[in-house]
């Protein structure tokens, strides 16, 4: 097992993508086990500081996924998520965070196979990019030590 296996964290909403990933399971569609799913009520709940937290604690890649535009269970949470992401991405670029490692997507409750595709393509992308050591070295733990 010398091959690099990235750590990917997925921040997903309960109503669309979490349910979509459940459907991937019900349909027995296989995908990479490198992903860990964190469930939120809505993408609108996702505080982007959690993304930097995830990188700091060792993630090599991040997926943020919720309901398609207009399909949000709570009407508009995903629009706020998207708007804040646009701003946050600029900030990340400015700070030198590699935004290629953050994948933003929409997966509905009916898109089981799309979820598998997204995990697999992200996994391959991150393998190409390699471990995010430059960030991990900066992590708070190291500074504290």
């Amino acid at each position: 097992m010398s091959e690099f296996q990235p750590k990917i964290v997925a921040f997903v909403c309960n109503w669309c993508t979490y349910a979509g990933a459940d459907l991937t399971g019900t349909s027995r569609i296989k995908y990479s086990p490198n992903v860990r799913i964190v469930r939120f009520p809505c993408t609108g709940r996702i505080d982007y500081m959690l993304l930097t937290k995830a990188f700091a604690s060792g993630a090599d890649g991040i997926i943020v996924s919720g309901c398609h535009p207009n399909d949000c269970h709570y009407t508009s949470g995903n629009f706020y998520a998207r708007r804040r992401w646009i701003v946050f991405k600029k900030l990340c670029d400015f700070m030198g965070i590699d935004t290629r490692r953050i994948v933003f997507s929409w997966v509905s409750a009916a898109e089981g196979s799309k979820w598998a595709d997204i995990v697999n393509t992200t996994n391959e992308e991150i393998i190409k990019l390699g471990p995010y050591d430059s960030y991990h070295k900066l992590s708070t733990q190291d500074i504290l030590e």
Partner: protein, 666 residues
Amino acid sequence: MARIGVFICHCGENISATVDCPKVSEVAAKFPGVAYSVDYKYMCSDPGQSLVVNAIKEHKLTGIVVSACSPRMHEPTFRRACAEAGLNPYLCEMANIREHCSWVHEKGDRTDQKAIDVVRMMVEKVKRNNALMSIKVPVTKTALVIGGGVAGIQAALDIANAGHKVVMVEREPSIGGHMSQLSETFPTLDCSQCILTPRMVEVAQNPNITLYTYAEVESVEGFVGNFNVKIRKKAKSIDETLCNGCGMCTTKCPQKKIPNEFELGMGNRPAIYVPFPQAVPNVPVIDRLNCTYYKNGKCKICEKFCQPKAIRFDQEDEIIEVAVGAISICTGFDVKKTDFFPEYGYGKHKDIIDGLQFERMASASGPTLGAIRRPSDGAEPKKIVFVACAGSRDPAKGIEYCSKICCMYTAKHAILYKHKVHDGTAYIFYMDIRAAGKNYDEFTRRAIEEDNAQYIRGRVSSIYERDGKLIVIGTDTLMNHETVEIEADMVVLATAGVANQGAEELAQKLHVSYDQHRFFSEAHPKLKPVETNTAGIYLAGACQSPKDIPESVAAASGVAGKISCLFSSSELTREPLIAFVDRIAAPDYSSCTGCFLCQPVCPYNAIEKEDIKDRAGNLIKSLAYINPGLCQGCGTCVAICKSKSIDIDGYTNQQMYSEVDALLNS
């Protein structure tokens, strides 16, 4: 000190065949704060639940993680087990190692590691869960039924007969849906109108049902038990309380040549019309796009002849607000039209019609009074070709699914044809005959054996016109894939059943999910077939996927049962996973700075202003306050708050940060 219990389920072999459950349990036992860890074959079974209950009591657990299927499946089960053991039900979390792990990954170390990680993350989360009390909300015992096809009719009558109020909204001028257009129905060949019309009349007469036709849902707000619905009642240009349904106006209207939608363009209607004679309500509407008065400002002939003086040219759309506790979506389906098929001439051959048009033709009240006639010249077709699966089961056309009803209605059409044209021959091109259902296979056999329907297994590649005939080119896959050429007088395409127009917009208004084909999605394909993912909103009939009448009616009665259950008590309990603004001691009162950035992002207008005043009544500070009755727990305000003054139970900042931390620092 936290004392967490971890319960790893094998789910028979569903999990244990891929994930090494005893190992996961062993590793979990060593996590900080874990007081007890065990694996068991079926955690959701009775003995499994007793194991949980006893462990909570015996080991004085302060929280539990059940590592099993999706929380969408069994979270309520294990919360109940907690409550039974005297532990607050919200001190329970589930680690999804089935749908998100064993079912989607190969057996191996990385999969085991994932299961371990997921359990660790939930252990860290549950340590920070708060004991919560569920919220009680009142229930408005009125149901909204959207769509008045056979499904909507059944749902409305069943709910009304259970003693509850129903508001029905139908987009067309009359209820009845597609069933009112059908001639006779499989598998019994009973006349569609004869069985449907009495039910339609019942809807109109039931004192518990308020019917709005020519109306659509404008907006929906609120949540289960407490929806506020705005209905747009389009202007019919008629005072419905005065109109006595004499129909004088419709006979006098000079506009006579408007294609009749009910007859699918095979007949004409005036500008003021009732869609069909048995319409409910029997009140005409003026089609303003085609009415001479609205176009040119002159005419008003109908007004002159209307004895009760019911015509209202100045009538406007009306917005009606209703409060309802539950909603049933029964908006049905549609069929692809012949113009969808380039290989069959894009709908330009008059004698190629779709199945619904054949229904009208075969119907005694239809444009030909039940005679089968070529639309082009009115001749009786002696050779007729039916094409099953036209568009369905065809990925190239974007419709992979089986439309389900076409095999049966095509057999029906062949039988009806033979009953009307004794010396004619019916050919049916088909892929498979799918006739699963009570008395269904017997019915298709009847078409073949008694009515001599010529079934040819193969698809039709093209149809073109030659000397007034339609040349149908297909293959016979049971005869060495030989090319078959039939010189037909008429062709009927059993076109694919598709989602109804406007389904997507409606789903978005209601915040329910729909699939890639725009059919509404059920909450669970097997166990919650009539529920949507949004509590209090249900679905029945062909709006979910193509369905025949018995299935649509069964689903509608299922919905009525669900809604009656919901209405059986005057209060219902709601999950207390909602947001709150922190409150601290004076002089700060809260870390909230009163910027109110959160206010506009809340989709439910749940964020209010609370003024903190001193004894003299002077304002000290304005703070955000979240109304727990309105908050639905999306958490958007939590992420937007720059002073981190808002948090949300179930997904607090502490919980989420700990989860992320635990995930990766293994």
